[in-house]
Symmetry: C2
Subunit: 334 residues, 2 copies
DNA sequence: TTGTAAGCGTTATCAT
DNA sequence: ATGATAACGCTTACAA
C-alpha cells in the first residue's frame, strides 16, 4: 500500500506538501496549482490510501464511532444502528458494532475495546437493568472515557452520566393506553418486559397510571422478554386464561408482532376480538398496520452522531401515535 | 490516557519489558515474576489501555473486520452480522459495519475506508446486481486489497474474486418448490426479487426447474424488492388476480412475512386457502411457524471470521428444510 | 532476564 | 509556497 512518502517522491515534492494536498484539515493551505495537480496525479497512480492508524496515532483520536447495542437483531436497535451508520458515514466516520446482551460486563469489555481504538464517541442503544452486577464498574469506565474527551451518548435511560437522547417512555405508554381506553376497551393487558429493565418499567408505569386514571385494573403479563417469541408465548397464556383481555399493549413492536402471531393462530379476529398496540414504530410493525407509538429511531441515531461530531447538545425528538388497523373503536356492550 | 512509557516508568522497568508483559503475542517471553507483577500493578493503577492505533501502525494491520451489508435492517443480513460480531469479539477483533444499499459505488467507497483502517478482513453480505454500474471499479479495488493481504470474503455470490462461503441458492429453491408440489399444490407462484440480483435469480431458476420438472407453469411476481412491504404488495396483487395461486414461494423470509400479512388481511386461511414458504430461516419466520429453507446465517458469519483469523478455507454448511404451519398436505380436488 | 533504539505513516511546528 | 524534522505509542531486532 502506497505511503505518503512514496507519493511525495513520485510527485517530486516533500511529504509535507503531499500531506497538505491530500489532507482534509489542511486543504486550504496555499499550494500552487501545478504542485497540487502533481500530487493528486501521483496519489492516483500510486493507488494511495491514507493510513487511518497513523492519523489516529498522530491525532490521538480515530474517526470511529462505537455502538453498544443490547441486541443487534432487534429492529428497534437495528434501526438506531442504521441511523448512526448512515449519519456517521456522511460525516466521514465509521461505525463499530458491539453486541452486549444487556450484560454490564460485556458492555464494559466492549467499551474498553472501543476506547483502545480511540473512538471519537460511543453510543449506547438500550437501557440497563436495575442493580445488575457490573453496573458500577461500567459507570467508572464511562467516567474515565468522558474525562479523556470521548463523547458517550445514550439513546435509552442509563444509570451513568452520559449524554442522554431519550424519548419519554412513561408518557408515550400513558398516551397509548389512554388512547385504547378512549376507544372503548375495558380489559387492557400489558405484555412484555424484563425485570428491572428501566425503559420497559417506565412503559409499565405509564400504562398503570393511565389505567388507574380511568379506574381500570392493570394486568401485566409476560415479563420474560422483549422478543417476538416471548410476546407470542405471553399472549398465548393470556388467551388461555379465564378472562380474556379485549386489548393488549405490548412493551415494543417485537412483542406485538409475537402477539399478532398468537392471536391469528388462535383463530381470533384483530381488532374485533382483541386489539393490539405496540411501542416503537418499526418497519415490521408498519407492514402489519400495527397501532404503535412511533419513535424516531433512525433520527435518534443521527442525533447521536451529530452530538459526537459537532459537540452539540441536541433536543430529543417527539414521539407520535400511529393509528393502524390492529385497533378500532369498540362499542361497549352495555 | 496512560501510555506504555508511563506504565514502564511507574513499574521501574523499560517499555520493552512492560510491552512484553502486557502484550498478547510476546506473553511467553521470559520475565521474572516480580517484574511481571510490578508491571501488571502499574498498568492497573495507571488505568492503562493500549493504543489500537499505535499497534495497527506498527503491525501494518488492525484487528478490524469490516462488514459490507446490502441492508443492515434485513434480518437475513442482521443475523449474519451478528454471527460475525460475536465470533470476531471472541477472537479479539472488532466489527465495523457498513451499509451499502446494493450500490457498487457505495460498496467501493465503504471498502476503501475499511482499507484505510487496515482491516484484517472484509466480509460482503449480499449478492450483486448483474451489470450494475460501478461493478468493475469495485472488483479492481477488491483485487488490490487482496494483493495487500486483506482477506475478502463473500457470503453471497459475487462477480469478483473473493473467497466465497455461499449456500446453493438454486438447489435450495428447487428443493422447496419440489416439496410444495409433493404436498399437492398445483398453482405455485414465486414472489419477490430484484431484477439482476444474482442470489434472487438463482432462487427463481431453482423454482422454475422444479416446476417444469412436474409439468407446471411457473409464475413469478413482485420482482420489485426483497422487503416485507414489497412481499405484501406483490401478494395483494396476486390475490386480486383472476387465478389465485394455492401456494406462494417467497424469495426470502421477509417477503414471506409480508405475504402472510396480506393474506391475513384478506381474510384467507393459511395454509388451507393458500400456503406460504420462505427462504432464510430467520427468527421472525420461526415466530410465524413459517415453512422455510433454513440457512445457517450466523454460522456463515462465524465461518467468515474463522477464515479471516486462521486463513483457513472453510466448507459452506448445508441448508435444511424447516416444516412450519404455513404449509400442509393438500388433497387435490379431482 | 532486561534494555536500547529504530521505525511504522502521519501531522504540526518551525524554518526558508 | 515549500520543506526538514520531531513527535504520536507501540513492537521487535539486537545488545547486554
Amino acid at each position: 500500500m502506497a505511503t505518503l512518502r512514496e507519493v511525495a517522491r513520485l510527485a517530486g515534492v516533500s511529504v509535507t506538501t503531499a500531506s497538505r494536498v491530500l489532507n482534509d484539515t489542511d486543504r486550504d493551505h496555499p499550494v500552487s496549482d501545478a504542485t497540487r495537480a502533481a500530487v493528486t496525479t501521483a496519489a492516483e497512480t500510486a493507488g494511495y490510501r491514507r493510513s487511518a492508524a497513523a492519523r489516529a496515532l498522530k491525532n490521538g483520536r480515530s474517526r470511529l464511532i462505537g455502538v453498544i447495542a443490547s441486541d443487534v437483531l432487534d429492529p428497534y436497535f437495528a434501526e438506531m444502528t442504521r441511523g448512526i451508520e448512515v449519519a456517521a458515514a456522511a460525516a466521514g466516520y465509521v461505525t463499530v458494532l458491539a453486541n452486549a446482551n444487556r450484560d454490564p460486563y460485556q458492555e464494559r469489555s466492549r467499551f474498553q475495546v472501543l476506547r483502545e481504538h480511540g473512538a471519537a464517541g460511543i453510543v449506547f442503544c438500550g437501557s440497563d437493568i436495575d442493580g445488575a452486577p457490573g453496573t458500577a464498574e461500567l459507570a467508572r469506565e464511562v467516567n474515565h472515557a468522558m474525562r479523556d474527551g470521548t463523547d458517550v451518548i445514550s439513546l435509552a435511560p442509563r444509570g451513568f452520566a452520559a449524554t442522554e437522547i431519550v424519548i419519554d417512555n412513561e408518557a408515550s405508554s400513558y398516551d397509548l393506553t389512554t388512547h385504547l381506553l378512549d376507544l372503548g376497551n375495558r380489559q387492557i393487558a400489558f405484555v412484555g418486559g424484563l425485570p428491572g429493565l428501566v425503559a420497559a418499567e417506565m412503559r409499565i408505569s405509564g400504562y398503570r397510571r393511565a389505567m388507574y386514571n380511568q379506574d381500570r385494573l392493570p394486568r401485566v403479563a409476560g415479563l420474560d422478554g422483549m422478543s417476538q417469541i416471548s410476546g407470542r408465548a405471553a399472549t398465548e397464556r393470556l388467551l388461555a386464561s379465564a378472562t380474556r383481555p379485549d386489548a393488549i399493549i405490548c412493551t415494543n413492536d417485537e412483542t406485538a408482532i409475537g402477539a399478532l402471531a398468537a392471536i391469528w393462530q388462535a383463530g381470533l379476529r384483530i381488532p374485533e376480538d382483541i386489539a393490539i398496540a405496540g411501542i416503537g414504530g418499526t418497519d415490521t410493525g408498519r407492514v402489519f398496520d400495527l397501532t404503535s407509538i412511533e419513535l424516531p429511531l433512525a433520527e435518534l441515531g443521527r442525533l447521536a452522531v451529530e452530538c459526537i461530531v459537532t459537540h452539540s447538545t441536541p433536543v430529543p425528538p417527539e414521539y407520535r401515535l400511529r393509528l393502524g388497523r390492529t385497533t378500532a373503536p369498540r362499542n361497549p356492550i352495555a
